[in-house]
Symmetry: D2
Subunit: 439 residues, 4 copies
Amino acid sequence: MSENDNLTFLDDLGLGFAVDRLGPAKYPTPMRVGCLTGDDERILYHTDVAIVRRLLDEGCELPSFERAGPREQLFFNPIGLRAGIVTCGGLCPGINDVIRAIVLCLHYHYGVESVDGFRYGYEGLIPDYGHEPISLTPARVEMISDFGGTVLGTSRGNQDVGRMVDTLVTRGVSILFTIGGDGTLRGAGAIAAEIARRGLPIAVVGVPKTIDNDIAFIERSFGFITATAEAQRVIEGAHSEALAARNGIGLVKLMGRDSGFIAAYSALADSQVNFCLVPEVPFALESFLDALRDRLAARGHAVIVVAEGAGQELVGRTGARDASGNVKLGDIGLFLREAINGYFKELGTPINLKYIDPSYTIRSLPANTYDSAYGLLLGYNAVHAAMSGRTNMVVGYWNNEYTHVPIPLAVYRRKTINPQARLWNNVLLATGQRLASPA
Amino acid sequence: MSENDNLTFLDDLGLGFAVDRLGPAKYPTPMRVGCLTGDDERILYHTDVAIVRRLLDEGCELPSFERAGPREQLFFNPIGLRAGIVTCGGLCPGINDVIRAIVLCLHYHYGVESVDGFRYGYEGLIPDYGHEPISLTPARVEMISDFGGTVLGTSRGNQDVGRMVDTLVTRGVSILFTIGGDGTLRGAGAIAAEIARRGLPIAVVGVPKTIDNDIAFIERSFGFITATAEAQRVIEGAHSEALAARNGIGLVKLMGRDSGFIAAYSALADSQVNFCLVPEVPFALESFLDALRDRLAARGHAVIVVAEGAGQELVGRTGARDASGNVKLGDIGLFLREAINGYFKELGTPINLKYIDPSYTIRSLPANTYDSAYGLLLGYNAVHAAMSGRTNMVVGYWNNEYTHVPIPLAVYRRKTINPQARLWNNVLLATGQRLASPA
Amino acid sequence: MSENDNLTFLDDLGLGFAVDRLGPAKYPTPMRVGCLTGDDERILYHTDVAIVRRLLDEGCELPSFERAGPREQLFFNPIGLRAGIVTCGGLCPGINDVIRAIVLCLHYHYGVESVDGFRYGYEGLIPDYGHEPISLTPARVEMISDFGGTVLGTSRGNQDVGRMVDTLVTRGVSILFTIGGDGTLRGAGAIAAEIARRGLPIAVVGVPKTIDNDIAFIERSFGFITATAEAQRVIEGAHSEALAARNGIGLVKLMGRDSGFIAAYSALADSQVNFCLVPEVPFALESFLDALRDRLAARGHAVIVVAEGAGQELVGRTGARDASGNVKLGDIGLFLREAINGYFKELGTPINLKYIDPSYTIRSLPANTYDSAYGLLLGYNAVHAAMSGRTNMVVGYWNNEYTHVPIPLAVYRRKTINPQARLWNNVLLATGQRLASPA
Amino acid sequence: MSENDNLTFLDDLGLGFAVDRLGPAKYPTPMRVGCLTGDDERILYHTDVAIVRRLLDEGCELPSFERAGPREQLFFNPIGLRAGIVTCGGLCPGINDVIRAIVLCLHYHYGVESVDGFRYGYEGLIPDYGHEPISLTPARVEMISDFGGTVLGTSRGNQDVGRMVDTLVTRGVSILFTIGGDGTLRGAGAIAAEIARRGLPIAVVGVPKTIDNDIAFIERSFGFITATAEAQRVIEGAHSEALAARNGIGLVKLMGRDSGFIAAYSALADSQVNFCLVPEVPFALESFLDALRDRLAARGHAVIVVAEGAGQELVGRTGARDASGNVKLGDIGLFLREAINGYFKELGTPINLKYIDPSYTIRSLPANTYDSAYGLLLGYNAVHAAMSGRTNMVVGYWNNEYTHVPIPLAVYRRKTINPQARLWNNVLLATGQRLASPA
C-alpha cells in the first residue's frame, strides 16, 4: 500500500543476483498446467526510470531477479523423493499456510509423498533432542491454516551444521525447506555450504519470515499485513482511552527491532496516531515531550506509537544478545512512560497515560485472507524452485512478481525505512509530527 | 451462558428491595406503544424451589425486584424537561450504546429535547474544572456506538456532593443518569441523598458499569460478553505460542480485581486453558508449580489465565488505594512469571514462557452485538424509571428481566464466584486443574 | 439481553415437567470435583411474583424444571460404556462445540472411551446408507470448535425407528445424544419410546438446536447470539447501501420460519432498522408501503428487516412440506421487493432498493465466544443427565440455570414472540414503526 | 499477493502516458515535509527484463508512468481555493477513506479550507436535483472511515457535461475530485475536455474505484483486499455447508462482471475451492458437470465459486444495459443451480446444493486496515496531483509506486485475468480443476 522507495539501493549493484543450482534439470515436470516459467525470465530490480537510464548510459547491466515459477525440467525425480520442512524463530501469521502450501504442492502437483516436518526449529535436525519428525500428509495439513503459530514448533538459535546435514543424509531428505528470518537464513546458507562441500544433491530453499518486514530484497514478508491490521486494532483502543480522559495519552509499543514498518504502516492505516517513533529516525527526547505538551494543550489527548527498537540511544542498549544472536533491546516503552509521567509531573499538568504492549498477541494470529493467499504462493514457488534444483536461495516478491533471491543477498543487509523518502514522508503527513533529531 | 449460583444469598433476605420515588406520578406518558409495566410487577429473586419453599414455610415474604419498563403515568412533565448524563471510572465496551439509548429514548419516546452530557466524570459537575457540557442530540449520538470508550470522557474519584447538586439546580437538570461502577454508584447515592435532604424534584438513576461483572444483584453487566470474547482471542494467541515451543507456557493476565468472572468464562469458552486462577480461590504456589511441571511433562505445553486480583496473599498487597478508592493490587502476572521461571530453572528444565497482559485493549473495544442490544435496553429502562420518578436506583437484569435495584442494595456487596458452586465447578472440569489451597 | 415475557404461559401449567429415568442410579460417579447436583434440586418456571402468588393462592404446585448437573450416583457403569452422537437438520453455529464437549466430558470426567459419531443425521443409524460411524476421540475433536458446520454431517427427515434402535443394540450403544431441532427431538422421542417398549437400558438425551430460537421452555438456543451478530453485520451493509442512494432502501431477509427472534434482536442491536417484520405480527401491506413512503420522504432512506416466515398470508403458502416436514414458505423477501418497486413506480418516485438474502452464510459460522461456552456447558450437562440414567429429555436453560426438559414438553409448542409483551414493544420503540394489522 | 502478468501488454506501447497540465506551476508549496517528487520522476511500465531489452534493442522508448507525490511548485494558490468531491457508481470498501484523505490533505497540508461534497454522484452537479453540497471539514470527515458506503451518496449514469461545468464555475470550484469506475472516469474525461474547450483553470483528478479490480494500468484498486477477505468468509460458510451434507455442494456467486479477480484470489486464499469460474475463461457446461460428478464421487462434497460475468455464453446475454451503460448480465448463479440439480436428478444421484449470493454485503463493508492505508495515500496523491495542476488523470499504483495515469489510458481497456499466465495457473493449481473449453 505504500512505496518501495526504501528498497532501492544503488550501492547494491555489485551484489550477486545469480542463484545456485545443484546441477542440470533432466526430469520432465509431471505438472499438468500450462504456464511454465523459463529459466531466463527475470524481473528488473529498479523501476525508477532515471536510475535505469543512468545504468544504461554507464554501460552497466540492469540488476534483476530470476523469476520464480514451475519449470519444464526438474532436477529431482519426484518419484520416491523425500522433502523436509523446518520452522525457526519467532511466530508470524501465516507459517502454517506456507507449510500447508509446500505439502500440498509437493503432493498434488509433483507427486512427492514423503515430507518430514522437523520439530522445534533446527533442534529437530539434531537427534539428541529426541524430537521425532511429523509425517506431513495432505490430511495432516488440510486445516492448519486456520490456526496461528506453527504446527511444527519452533526454536531460536543455530545447531551444529555438520550434524544437521548428517540427519538429512540419514533420513534421505533431498530438499530442506526452511521458514525463518535472518538468523534462520544464515543457518540455511551454512547448511547449503556444507552440502556443497560434501557434493550432495540436496536443495536448501527458504521462505523468508519476519514480522518486522525487514528482509532486504523482498517487498513484503508474509504475515505483515495481518500484523499491521492487529496493530491498528490496538491503536484504536489506545485512541479510545486517550479520548476518554482529560489529557489522555495512549502509548502503544509495537514490534520493530531495527525497522519500524509495522509502526509506520499502522500510523497510515489509523490516522489517529499523533507520534510515530521508529528505530530509523532518532529523536530528541525534549523535542518529543514538548511536542506532546503542545498537542495536549491543543487537542486534549494524544496517541503515540513506538517501535520496540526506537530510541535505543535513550535507553542505553547493553549490547547483550539473545539466543538468536539479536542484540537485547532496552525497553523504550517503559522508558517513555516514565519520561512522560515525569515531564508532566514537573510541569504540574495532570495527565492520564495508558500504556499498551500487545506483544505476542499480534504475531500469534492466524493469517488473514491476504497473507493466506500470499503464503500459499510463496510455498508453491519454494517447491517449484527446489524441484528445479535451485538451492541456497529464498523465495522473494519484487515488483509484484515472485522471485529467487540468493541467501547471501537476502542477509546482506536489513531493510529499513528511509527517513528521506516517501513512506516516512507520508507518515509525517498523516501524523503531523515534527520532532528534532538528537543533538 | 453459565449459572447464577453465585448470586443467591440467603443472608441478603433482610435487605431492602424497595425503590425510592420522588413523588406521585401524575403526567400521562406520551409513549405510543402498547405494553406498559405496572408499578406492582415484580420479579422473584430466588428461583431455587427449595429456597422458595423454605421461605414460604417460614412465613417469609419472597424477596423480589421491581420490574423495569415504561409506566403509564410519569412523575416528570417531559415538556421542557432537561436531563444530564455522566460517565465515570474505567472504560467498558458499551458505554456509548447506553448514552445513545438514553438520548434517543428521551427524545423520540418522551419528547425530552435537552440532554446535557457532563464531561470527564463527576468533574463535569464541578464548574471549577471548566468542562462545558456537550449538548446530546440524536444527531450527535447516532453513530457513537461504533466506537469504544465514552464520548463524554470519564474520570475516577468523587467530587463535592453539594456543589454537584448546585450544578444540577443551576442548569435546571431534573434527571441525572450516572453510568459507572461501585464508586460511581456510591457517589450517585450521595447525590440522591443530598437532593432528598434539600427536597428537590431531581431523579438520580444509574446504569451499572463494571467490566469485572462484580456488581451484586445484577446478573451480568454490559460489556462483559465483549470482554470475554476478546480475552478468549488473547488466550488463543497464548495457546499458539505455547504449542510452538518446547515446554511452551502461555501466561495471560486478565482483568478481575475481586471477581474472576472474565477469567472463568474465558476458560470455559476456550478450553485450551489448563490453569485458571481467580481472586476467589486462593492457591498454594507450590501446588500450582508442581501441577504445571506435571502438565508440561505430560503434554509439553500449558496455558495459564490469571485474574489480576488472584494470589494477592502471595504478592503482598500494600494497602495503598487509587483515586477511585480501590486497593492497589500487587502484580500477580509478573510475580508468576518470575516464580515459574525460577522454579524450572532450579529444576533444570528449560521452558519457554510467553507473558501477555492485554490490559486496556479489552475494555476499550466497542460493544459487540449482544452488548449493544443489552446497552440499548438498559438505557431505555433507565429513562423509563427516571421519568416515572424513581431515584437512588440502578437498572438491573435478573432472571432475564430488567429490574430496579436500590443503590444501597447494589453496593452492599460485590458479586464474586462461589468456589463451591456450579460455575467454578465447570471451570475445574474444563481445565482439569486441581490445586491445593494455601496452608 | 431481553426479556422472556414471551415464554411464560399460564396454560402450560398442566404439562408434565417430570423427566424419565431408565432406573435407579447405583454406580458412584468417578468425577473428582466437588459440586454435585441433588436429584431434588429444581428451578422455578415462573418468576413473575403475581403469577407465583396466584398459583400459591389457588393451591397449585409451582411448575419447575429439574436442575441439570453431575450426580453422585450414575445409572451407567462408565467402564466399557459406549455412547453415540448424531446431528440432524440445518446447520447452526456451535454444533461442533457441543460434540466436542460431549466427547471430552465422557472421556475425561467419566472415563468413557468409546463414542460413535453417526454420520449424516439419522441416516447414520440405518446401515443401508453405508455411512460408517466416526470414532470420536479427544484428539479427533480437539480443534473442531474452530469450524462451522458439523463434523458428523447432517440430514433432514426421520428414519425407521425400529431399525435405528436395532443399530444401537448391535453396536452396543448405551447412550444416544441427538443434536437437533423440533423434528429431531420428535424422532428422539420415538426412539426413546421404542427403547422403552423393548425395555432396553439405553438413554436418549438431546441438545436442542434451532437457529430460530424457537424451542419452547428453553430460554435461548446455542448459536443464536452468533447468528444475531452476523445478522447485524449484514444489516449494517444494508444501511450503508441505503444511505448511499437517493431514496435508498436496504431490504434484508433473515431466518425465522415461525418465530422472528433473529430479526427482532437484530433490530435491537442495530438501531438503524426502520421496519422489522416477523411471522408473529401480521401487517397490512398498504400500511407498510405508506409508512415506507413517509419514512423516505422524511429521511431519504430506510432499512427493512424481514423474517422469512413473515407475511405468509400475503405470499400464499402452498402447504407443501420439505423433508423435515416443515411447511414450504412463500418467499416474502422477493415478494416485498416486487411490491415496493411496484408501489413507488406507480407513485412516480424513483427508489433504489438493495435486496440482501444472506441465507446460509449465517448458520454455517463457527460459534462465537458466548455460544462456544454455552455449547460446552450444554454438552457437559447432557452427559451428566445421560450418565445418571435420564432419558427422553433435552438439556435446557431457564432463569440462568441448566435444566432437564422432557421431550414431550420441548416439542409441545414453538416459542414465539408475544406481540403484546416487552420484547416486541422494545422493537417498536427501537424502530419507531407503526403498522396496521391486516383487515 | 499474486503477479501482474495479466497487466503487461506489449500492444499498449503506442498509448500515451503523458499527463495533461493546466499550466505552469508557480506557487511554492506550503507543505513542510521534506521529500518532494520531481516532475521528471517516472516509473517503468515493464519489469520483465526480456521485454525491456527488446524495446531497447528496437530503439523504442521504455513506457513509463509519471510518479505521483507532492511537488515543490503548485499551479493553484491554496489561499481561498475551493475544491469539490464527487463519488459515483456502486459501493466499494474505502470510499470514505479516500474522501477523508482528500479533505485532510487539502486542509492540513495545503491550507485549503473549502471543500464541497457533491451529493449522489454526478446528479449533485446538476442544480435541478436539488442536492445541496455538504461542506467537508476535518471534523465532518474525522470518523467516517469506520463506516462503509460513501457519506456523499452516489448514483449511476452521466449528466449533462456543460451544466456540470457551469456548476463548477458558479460555485468557484477549482479542483474536482471524482471517485468512481470506468463510467465515472469517462464522465470525468468529458468534463475535463469541456473545461479545456472553455479554457478554464479547473483540474479534474480521479481516484479509480472498482470492486472488480478491472481498471487497466492500475495494479490493484482500493477495497479489493477487503472484498476478497469477505468473499473468503462466505466461501468458508459454503465449505461448511458442503461438508455437512452427503454430496454437499456449496455454490457461491461473487462479483466480477468482466474480470474474475475476486473469484480467483478468493480461490487462492481459501483452498477449499474446487471450481473457480470466471468471465475470462469460458468452459463447456458438460465438462464442468462431469468434473463435478467425479469430484463428488471421490470426496463427497464440492465448493464452486462463480463470478457473475462467467459463462455468459451459456445464459444468453440480452444485450440490454443498465443506467451506468453496463450490459445486463444473465444470472449464471441461478443457471448453474438449475443445471447442477437437473444433471444429478437425471443421474439419479441425490445431492444437496446450497446457493449463496452475498451480493451487496461485500461491497458495503468498511475498508480493512490495508485498504484504509491505501485509500489514504491514493487520496493524498490525488491532492498533490491536482494542486500541481495535473488534470484529466487518475491516481494509479504500479510496481509499488503511486503514479499519474491519463484518463484515456485508464479507460482504454479493462484489466482481465490472462488465462495463459501465472495468476490463473495458480488458481488451477490451487483448485485442481480441469475443464474443457466450449466447443
